[in-house]
């Protein structure tokens, strides 16, 4: 066994010994992955995994390094890039990834990607 492997073993024992807790959080993340387009609230996530919402929030952050909401927003933006590349109109994309207003979608997209959804889409087509 290499030094790297023994370190992995050691750290796993310290940080990831609670397997049922890990399974719950991984299931929550997978739930977000398949339901990112819906109106997801923490209550719904906690209901789905039978945990109190604050406990769930704390554990998700502990294991994924982001809050469920931050993860959800990243997921939606990532998906919206896919849809825009496929040629879906901006407004349709906005609702298809679960945003409720075009304003909040465009603003977040611009903050994270550095250009507006329509600019991003235009560049995709001029490239291909």
């Amino acid at each position: 066994m290499t030094f790297y492997e023994s370190e992995i073993e050691r750290i796993r024992g310290i940080c990831y010994s609670n397997e049922s807790q890990l399974d719950t959080i991984i299931a929550t993340k997978k739930f977000i992955d398949t339901n990112f387009d819906k109106d997801l609230k923490l209550d719904l996530l906690s209901l789905n995994q039978f945990k109190s919402k604050f406990h769930l929030l704390r554990l998700f952050k502990r294991y994924y390094g982001q809050t469920p909401r931050q993860y959800l927003m990243d997921k939606r933006i990532e998906k919206s890039k896919e849809y825009l590349k496929e040629g879906m109109p901006v407004t349709e994309t906005c609702f298809a990834v679960g945003f409720e207003s075009l304003g909040s979608f465009s603003k977040l997209f611009k903050t994270k990607i550095g250009k507006s959804p329509s600019q991003f889409q235009k560049e995709q087509f001029s490239r291909s």
Binding site: T2, F3, Y4, E5, I8, C15, Y16, Y63
Partner: protein, 131 residues
């Protein structure tokens, strides 16, 4: 400031270029000749061609401490860097069939699954799937 380049030290640029393109599936982005047969050689992911570039940098051949560091990482089994994949098991199967040698088979660690292989030019490389 923007993150655009991840530098990987290599002993043989051409050999590593073949490995990263033919086996791993990266695509050449820039190839600029420099002095002494060295090149500014960068690659991108096939499905993310406007994403960050990998720079195959012949540093170990020109700067001894880099070679020492690279050798120490290799001996201890530490990956020099890591790439994200959708499915570690599938990549493991695909690469093993191409005779890529793994020092760590697909292994779960918290919220990820990972594996480590030898890039044949001095580095361990880790592939990671978020669970």
């Amino acid at each position: 400031m923007k993150v655009t380049i991840v530098s990987i030290p290599v002993r043989d640029q051409e050999k590593e270029f073949q490995f990263y393109t033919e086996k791993l599936g990266f695509i050449k982005k820039k190839d600029i000749p420099l002095e002494g047969g060295n090149r500014w050689l960068t690659l991108v992911s096939a499905d993310w061609q406007d994403g960050p570039e990998i720079l195959l940098e012949p540093a170990p051949n020109h700067f001894e401490p880099c070679k020492v560091y690279q050798d120490a990482l290799m001996e201890a089994g530490f990956p020099y860097t890591q790439f994200d994949v959708d499915d570690v098991d599938a990549e493991y199967d695909r690469l093993t069939k191409l005779d890529v040698e793994f020092s760590v088979k697909p292994t779960k660690m918290g919220t990820v699954k990972f594996a480590v292989f030898n890039d044949t030019c001095g580095n361990n490389i880790q592939i990671v799937e978020m669970l």
